[in-house]
């Protein structure tokens, strides 16, 4: 059933008591691509990755990784995959080099090849200068890169990245993204879980959206964004009483129905002709003397995708955190 797919899952089920962590989850990842698995906390992303990487047993359905059955051929699967989980799973006391040599020996490369491979990976992940320092003194980004390097010791054909940039500062995040891009360039298939559409957008050629243990959409990043109406114009007003006038203006200029968020004094609507719509709204509001705190274009967020696909919002409340990330993503794009 592999036929050009590095990962294939059909009807995966995983129950914890009454809770269905995975409830008929399907996934197909083409060889040599980065596939994003996008969903909020608790949607089942990590459970799916843990089943596919042989860490936990599935309760129903079947899954193949690199053409091997994860339930029956776990040991063979393990020789062909790399896993980078939500923590940098490296030894903090050892040096970077000692870590890679230890994992290399545990991958059964033998001492000589383990040492040589460590040198290669330190070079590849730009850690040569820090090679002989204790990992406890590494920055978050360096630890993540070492973690990635340890996952790449056998140059596996499939790499699982479970929220690889969670908790990283913008610079470290950019470093990790660069590493992932270069891995894919060398032929590795990557399954990447993330809560951030921006991240999936930057790295993945295809995205599966997961909610409550099921795949609810599977599309290209552009396809998903079109699904939620592409870019949006967003106006933040100074006074609640101004919301009505702003809605009227936005509705006239933009083709889509404006939505309002009374709590944060926001009005937003989908736009296609981004720049002229923005200019038009800004000018009209100025002419009418409406006091505006902020006005701008924003990419659809995971919240938007979710709202559109499921009719309910994600349960996440860390809006500011996500705003920071979006901000960082923009800066990263400018830098690149």
């Amino acid at each position: 059933m592999s036929d050009g797919h590095a990962v294939r899952a059909e009807g995966l089920e995983k129950r914890y008591g009454d809770k269905r962590a995975l409830d008929g989850f399907d996934l197909a990842v083409r060889e040599g691509t980065v596939h994003g698995l996008l969903g909020p906390n608790g949607a089942g992303k990590t459970t799916a990755v843990r089943i596919l990487s042989t860490l936990i047993r599935l309760d129903g359905g079947r899954a193949e990784v690199a053409g091997l059955d994860v339930a029956r051929q776990a040991r063979e699967v393990r020789a062909r995959i790399g896993l980078t989980g939500q923590y940098a799973a490296v030894d903090e006391v050892l040096t970077g080099r000692q870590n890679l040599e230890m994992f290399g020996r545990l991958f059964h490369l033998g001492g000589r090849r383990a040492r040589a491979r460590a040198v290669e990976l330190l070079e590849q992940f730009d850690l040569t200068d820090a090679a002989d320092r204790g990992v406890g003194k590494y920055s978050g980004g360096m630890r993540r890169r070492l973690d990635l390097a340890a996952s790449m010791i056998l140059a596996p054909s499939v790499l699982f990245l479970d929220e690889p940039t969670t908790g990283l500062d913008p610079r470290s995040r950019g470093e990790v993204w660069d590493s992932v891009r270069s891995l894919v360039a060398s032929g590795t298939t990557v399954l990447l879980t993330t809560q951030y559409l921006e991240e999936a957008d930057k790295l993945a050629s295809r995205i599966t959206v997961i909610d409550r243990g099921r795949a609810i959409a599977d599309d290209t990043p552009d396809g998903l964004k079109n699904l939620v109406g592409g870019d949006r114009i967003e106006v933040v007003v100074a006074e609640r009483s101004e919301i009505g006038r702003v809605v009227k203006t936005v509705a006239r200029v933009c083709e889509g129905e404006p939505e309002t968020d009374e709590g944060t004094l926001r009005v937003h609507a989908p736009v296609t002709d981004r720049v002229s719509a923005l200019t038009e709204v800004a000018r009209t509001l100025q002419d009418e003397g409406v006091r505006v705190e902020d006005i701008g274009l924003r990419r659809p967020s995971l919240d938007d995708v979710f709202l559109r696909l499921t009719g309910h919002r994600t349960d996440r409340t860390d809006r500011t955190d996500r705003a920071d990330r979006a901000d960082a993503a923009e800066k990263d794009a400018v830098a690149a």
Binding site: R57, R78, I81
Partner: protein
């Protein structure tokens, strides 16, 4: 891309070979920790050595040993037992770190022997325990402790390690049970009274009846009494059955503890796959 041939050595060499090879690499990792942070061993021995000084010199003159003999000679084997007994906290701390930081998951996602993860921990702890005992004994010798040499000495050393072996499984089990490294630190508060209510510091017959009974049946009391007997230092008497059969019980107790906690630890480890 790598210029190396990255084909792992073939698994045909057999399960036992890879268990031993992987175990050796895990032990190497554990010992490298001590090489990089030698001060850790001082931390681990700090409390027993401080206890030797406190009890030996501060309280020593006020302490009596039933059946006569110098209190310091009575105390030293007790301190060796305490060093072994506190070792399980050390085991638990490393295990909880590895499991919460994802290191155990990384091992489990690799084509290595998963038993080696636990076995390697155990062997590391025994090697470290030998070093700890050596340091404690040298300290004791410097303070005037004079044990009998020969086979008795070696047998006592062996019984101390035997106790430490049994406690590895309690440590692994607890390490997989407690939610975070901070909680593992709290184990000390449990371990301390458990070592006090034993024959380590005071002979059980000097305690209130019921407490003396509990102390005498404390597994570590048997190891302490057996070690004292083998070292030829004051034993502290006691005429209950368990105190009269200290050598036997010093062998039996670790078997009982292992029989209980090894399966619990293994089950806990297997539960990680659920």
């Amino acid at each position: 891309m790598s210029a190396l041939d990255l084909t792992p050595a073939p698994p045909e060499r057999g399960r036992l070979y890879w268990l031993l090879a992987d175990c050796g690499n895990i032990v190497r990792r554990g010992l490298t920790h001590y090489q990089r942070q030698p001060v850790n061993i001082a931390w681990q021995l700090g409390f027993p050595i401080l206890s030797v000084l406190l009890y030996g010199y501060v309280f020593g003159s006020a302490m009596t040993v039933p059946g006569g003999g110098d209190y310091k000679d009575f105390l030293m084997p007790g301190m060796f037992v305490m060093t072994m007994a506190f070792g399980f906290i050390n085991t638990a701390t490393v295990v909880v770190h590895d499991s919460t930081k994802g290191v155990i998951d990384r091992f489990r996602s690799m084509p290595m022997s998963s038993s080696a993860v636990v076995a390697g921990r155990g062997v590391t702890d025994l090697v470290v325990a030998c070093a700890e005992l050596a340091i404690m004994m040298l300290t004791a010798l410097a303070m005037g402790w004079r044990p009998d040499g020969g086979w008795g000495f070696l047998a006592a050393f062996g019984l101390l390690l035997w106790l430490r072996f049994a406690l590895i499984w309690i440590g692994v089990w607890l390490g997989l049970l407690v939610p975070n490294p901070e909680a593992a630190g709290g184990l000390f508060a449990v371990a301390f009274p458990l070592t006090m209510i034993s024959s380590i510091f005071v002979a059980p017959q000097l305690m209130p009846d019921w407490l003396g009974w509990v102390a005498a049946w404390n597994p570590i009391s048997s190891t302490a009494a057996a070690a004292r007997e083998l070292f030829g230092t004051p034993v502290g008497g006691g005429d209950s059955w368990v105190e009269q059969h200290a050598l036997l019980m010093a062998g039996v107790w670790p078997v009982v503890l292992t029989a209980i906690f090894l399966p619990l630890a293994v089950r806990r480890f297997q539960r990680l796959s659920r």
